[in-house]
Amino acid sequence: MPAPSSASAPARSPVGSFASDLFTSHLASLAAAPAWWLDRKRAAYEQFAGLPLPRRTDESWRFSNILGLSLDGYGLPAPATTRLAPFPISSAASLTFVNNTLIRGAAAESKLPAGVIVTTLAEAAVRHADLLQEHFMAQPQKLGSAKFAALHTAFVGDGAFIHVPRGVELAEPILIQHIASGAGAAVFPHTLVIAEENSRVCVVDTFVSDDAGAHFACGANDLYAGHGANLTYVGAQAWSRDTLSFQFNSTVVRRDARVQSLNLNVGGRQARHESLSQLQAPGGFSEMLALTVADRTQEFDQRTLQIHQAPNTKSDLLYKNALRDKARTIFSGLIVVDPDAQKTDAYQSNRNLMLSEEAEANSLPGLEIQANDVRCTHGATSSRIDPEQEFYLQSRGITKAMADELLTFGFFEEVLNRLENEELHAALRALIQTQFKKK
C-alpha cells in the first residue's frame, strides 16, 4: 500500500544538540577509558552524524510522529543525586545511575553467588574488554533506528554490565535504576546481560525522571542467553511526561535457552521501543511481553522483530496497550522465519484497549515466512471494554468507573501473571495504578 504522502517538514539539523563539540567534550570526560572503546564511540558518532533523521516515507517509521523527533534543546547533564525511593523489590544486587553516572552500587555480597559480575560499563571496558567487545551493541539494527542507536553508542556514559557464569542461578533479581535529573538532561542508559550456559538470572531496569523536565533518553539493553540459560528481563519505563525516549533491545537466544522480557511503558511524551529477538539455535524460546498505559497526548511507538534462524525455535509475543484521552500507540511487529528454520512455532499478538473517543491505535502485525514446515500466527484487536462484562460488574453494585478500572487491570493481569516473581508483579501493578490515579 502506498505510504501516506509526505508533508514537507522544515529542514532540521540531523544532529541537533549533539554537535561534534559536545561529542568532543564527552570524549574528554572519559580520560580513563581504553583506546578501543573511544575508537568505537568515534565511529558511532560518525555514523550518527551521517545518517538522516527518519522521514515519513520510511516504512519502519510508518504512523510515527516524525515531527516530534527533534534533537534540539538537550545537553549532557552534570552529575546529580536523587531523593527518589528505590524500586520496591528485594534484589541480589543493585546499581543506580543518575545522569549517566553511578551514584550507588549495592551488591549485597552475601546474596551474589561467586563469580557473578555486576559492575559498570566503564569498569568492564577495562577488566572485561573481550566480553564487552563481543556483546555490546553487537547485533544489527534492523528496526529503523540505526541513527539513534549510533547516538547511544557515541554518548553512552556508563551503564550496567552483568555476567552470570556457567551453571550459576540467582534467586533474586538484579536491579538497575536509571535516573534523569534536570531540565534538558540527555541520558544514555545501558544494561548488558550475559547469561552463560545453564545459568539463571532476572534483571530489572527502571527508567525514571527526578523532575518533570524535558529529558532526552536514548537507552539500550543487550541480552545474551547462552546454551540452556534462563534469562528474565523487566524494563519499567516511567520517564517524565516531557521526555523523548528511545530504547533498543537486542536479545540473542542460543540453544535451549529461554528468555522472557517484559517492558512496561507509562512515561514520556513520545517513546519508541525497538525489540529484536534472534533465535539462533534449536530449542531456543523467546517470550516478549509489553504493557503500555497511554494517556493525554502520549505516543508509544513499539517495533518488534522475532527472527527464527534455526529449526525448532519458539517465540511468543504479547503486547497490550490501554489508550486513554488523545493517546496514540503504534505496534509494528514482524516475525521472520529463515529458510532453514523448520518447525518454527511463532506467535504474535497485539491487543489494544480503547478507553476514549479520541485515542488512536495503529497495528502493523507482519509475517515473513521462508521456511515450509512452520506454525505461525498473529492477531491484533482493537476494542473497548466489553459492555457485557461492564454490565455484569455493575449489576453487582460496582460503579461504572470502578468496573472499567477492574476490567482494565484484568486486561493487564494476563501479561503480569506470566512473571514468576510475585514482588515484581506487585511492583509493576502498583506502577500502573499510579499512572491511572495521576489523572
Binding site: E360, S363, P365, E368, I369, N372, G379, S382
Partner: protein, 485 residues
C-alpha cells in the same frame, strides 16, 4: 481467466460435488495461443506526449479528457516506483519498450458476426459467445486496447442499464459518468493509476438505474494478444439507489518471452442501498505484470463486495478497497491467491471507514507453492469520532514444498472507543499426515495436494457463482498437478 467451455459436463447444482474431479484432463495451455492480427491503429513503442495525442486523436476525445491524460502523464513521471515497500521486480518493467495502444477499430461490434474473423476466432476458442448465450446479461470482449465486441441483452437494456466501453461512456453519457470518473481513484493515487489515467483505453462503463436489479451477471473478458503490449482498461460502475449488479471479469494472454503489462483502474460507486459484486478470476500468463488499482465508494447502506482470485501473472499487485462513506455501508474483500514457481501474488485489501456503523470484512487465503511467493497487505482505517464500526480480517496462508515464501503485512488504525477491529492470520504447512492419508486411498501426491488446496479455499469458493467456482477449482488442479513430483 479461462472460459467455461465445459459447463455442459458440470454436475447439476443440487449436488454439492462441484469440486469432484481433481484429475480432469484439461488443456493446460488453453489461453496460450495466438493468431496474427493486422492492427489498423498502433501508437508505437514507448510513452510520451505524442502517444497520448495519438490515442486521444483516434478516439476523437473531448478536450477535457486529453488534458486529463496529459496531466496524468506528468504525475506518472513524477512518482517514484514504490520499491521502498514493494518488490524490486517492478524495476524490470521497461516503459520504453511497451506498446500503449493497438486496435483494429474503436467501435465494438454488437453481434459476433460483425467481429473480424481473426479476432472472433480467439474469443470463440475461449468460449465467450457460448457463455454469453448461457448465463450472462451482457458481455464485453476486449482485444488488446479496444473492445471488439460489446452487447447487452435487450431485456437488460430496456431496464435502462448502460453497459458500454470507456470511450463511449465518456462521449455518449458524460452527465452520468464524468461526475465519478477519476473521483474514487484519483490520478495520483499511485504510479500505476497515473499511468492508466494517461493511456487508458477499453474497460466497461456501467450504469444501473434506481431500483433495477440485474439478475444475471455482466461479464468482461480481457485478452492480450500482442507482444510487448500494455493493456490499460478503465472501468467505472455506478449502481444507483437500491440497484444491484454483479460484474465478472476474466483475462488471458499467450505466453511471450518478454514481459507484458496490465494496469487497470476500476472504480465502483454504490449509491444509497445499492449492491455491487465484482468478481475477478485472474489467469494471466506468467510473464504479465498485473498492477491494478480497484476501489469502491459505498454510500449509505450500500454494499460492495470484491471477490478476487489471482492464479496467473508474474507479479500481481492488487489491493481492492472500499471507502465506506455512508452510514451502515458494508465492504467486503474475499481474496484467493495461488503463487506457483516464478510468481509473486502481492494482494490484499483496503477498508477506509468514513461513517458510523460501517462494517468491513476481509478474508484472504493464499497458497504458496515451490518458489512462489504470496504477500498479503492490508489497510484498515477507522478515524476519529466514528461510532459502531467493525472490521474483521482473517488471513490464512498455506505453504507447499520447500522454497515458497509468504508475507503478511496488515496495517490497522483505529480511533475511538466504540469500534471493534479484529485481525487474525496464520501460516501453516500442508499437513504431511493428511497427504499420506489421501495417498493411502489411492490418490497421487499431486491429486492429494490439489484436494488439500481446494479444501483450504472451499469456504470462500462457495461464495462464487457456480461456474466460477468450478473454473477456479480446475485452475488450481492444473497448478497443483504441475507442481508436485
Amino acid at each position: 481467466m479461462n472460459p467455461l467451455t465445459d459447463t455442459e459436463t458440470l454436475p447439476s447444482p443440487d449436488v454439492d460435488e462441484t469440486a469432484a474431479n481433481p484429475v480432469a484432463g484439461i488443456d493446460q495451455t488453453r489461453g496460450d495461443f495466438k493468431y496474427d492480427v493486422a492492427y489498423e491503429f498502433d501508437a508505437g513503442t514507448g510513452l510520451n506526449e505524442k502517444t497520448i495525442d495519438y490515442i486521444s486523436d483516434v478516439k476523437k476525445e473531448a478536450a477535457w479528457i486529453r488534458e486529463f491524460r496529459h496531466a496524468a502523464l506528468k504525475t506518472f513521471r513524477a512518482k517514484p516506483m514504490p520499491t521502498h515497500w514493494a518488490t524490486r521486480d517492478l524495476e524490470n518493467i521497461d516503459f520504453d519498450k511497451i506498446r500503449y495502444y493497438l486496435a483494429q477499430g474503436q467501435k465494438p461490434k454488437r453481434t459476433w458476426d460483425e467481429v473480424p474473423d481473426d479476432i472472433k476466432k480467439t474469443f470463440e476458442r475461449l468460449g465467450i459467445p457460448e457463455q454469453e448465450r448461457k448465463y450472462l446479461a451482457g458481455v464485453e470482449a476486449q482485444f488488446d486496447s479496444e473492445a471488439a465486441y460489446s452487447n447487452i441483452k435487450e431485456i437488460v437494456s430496456r431496464q435502462g442499464v448502460i453497459f458500454v466501453n470507456s470511450t463511449e461512456g465518456l462521449r455518449e453519457h458524460p452527465e452520468l459518468f464524468r461526475k465519478w470518473f477519476g473521483k474514487v481513484i484519483p490520478t495520483g493515487d499511485n504510479k500505476f493509476s497515473a499511468l492508466n489515467s494517461a493511456v487508458f483505453s477499453g474497460g466497461s462503463f456501467i450504469y444501473v438505474p434506481k431500483g433495477v436489479k440485474v439478475a444475471q451477471p455482466l461479464q468482461a473478458y480481457f485478452r492480450i494478444n500482442a507482444e510487448n503490449f500494455g493493456q490499460f482498461e478503465r472501468t467505472l460502475i455506478i449502481a444507483d439507489e437500491g440497484s444491484e449488479v454483479t460484474y465478472m471479469e476474466g483475462c488471458t494472454a499467450p505466453k511471450f518471452s518478454t514481459s507484458t503489462l496490465h494496469s487497470a483502474v476500476v472504480e465502483l460507486v454504490a449509491l444509497k442501498g445499492a449492491k455491487i459484486q465484482y468478481i475477478t478470476v485472474q489467469n494471466w500468463a506468467n510473464n504479465v505484470f498485473n498492477l491494478v488499482t480497484k476501489r469502491g465508494l459505498a454510500h449509505e447502506e450500500a454494499e460492495i463486495k470484491w471477490i478476487d482470485c489471482n492464479i496467473g501473472s508474474r507479479l500481481t499487485m492488487k489491493y481492492p478497497g472500499v471507502v465506506l462513506k455512508g452510514r451502515k455501508a458494508r465492504g467486503e474483500v474475499i481474496s484467493i491467491a495461488l503463487a506457483n514457481d516464478g510468481q509473486h501474488q502481492d494482494t490484499g485489501a483496503k477498508m477506509i471507514h468514513a461513517a458510523d456503523e460501517t462494517t468491513s470484512n476481509v478474508i484472504s487465503k493464499s497458497i504458496s507453492v515451490g518458489q512462489g511467493r504470496a504477500t498479503y497487505r492490508g489497510q484498515i482505517h477507522i478515524p476519529k469520532h466514528l461510532k459502531g464500526c467493525k472490521n474483521n480480517t482473517e488471513c490464512d496462508a498455506l505453504l507447499i514444498n520447500t522454497n515458497s515464501r509468504t508475507d503478511t503485512y496488515p496495517a490497522i488504525t483505529v480511533r475511538g472507543d466504540d469500534n471493534y477491529v479484529q485481525h487474525e492470520a496464520s501460516v501453516s504447512k500442508v499437513n504431511e499426515e493428511m497427504i499420506f492419508y489421501m495417498q493411502q486411498r489411492g490418490l497421487t501426491e499431486g491429486q492429494a495436494m490439489s484436494l488439500a488446496v481446494n479444501g483450504f479455499i472451499n469456504d470462500l469458493a462457495r461464495q462464487f457463482p457456480m461456474e466460477y467456482s468450478v473454473e477456479l477449482k480446475r485452475l488450481i488442479d492444473l497448478e497443483m498437478e504441475g507442481s508436485v513430483g
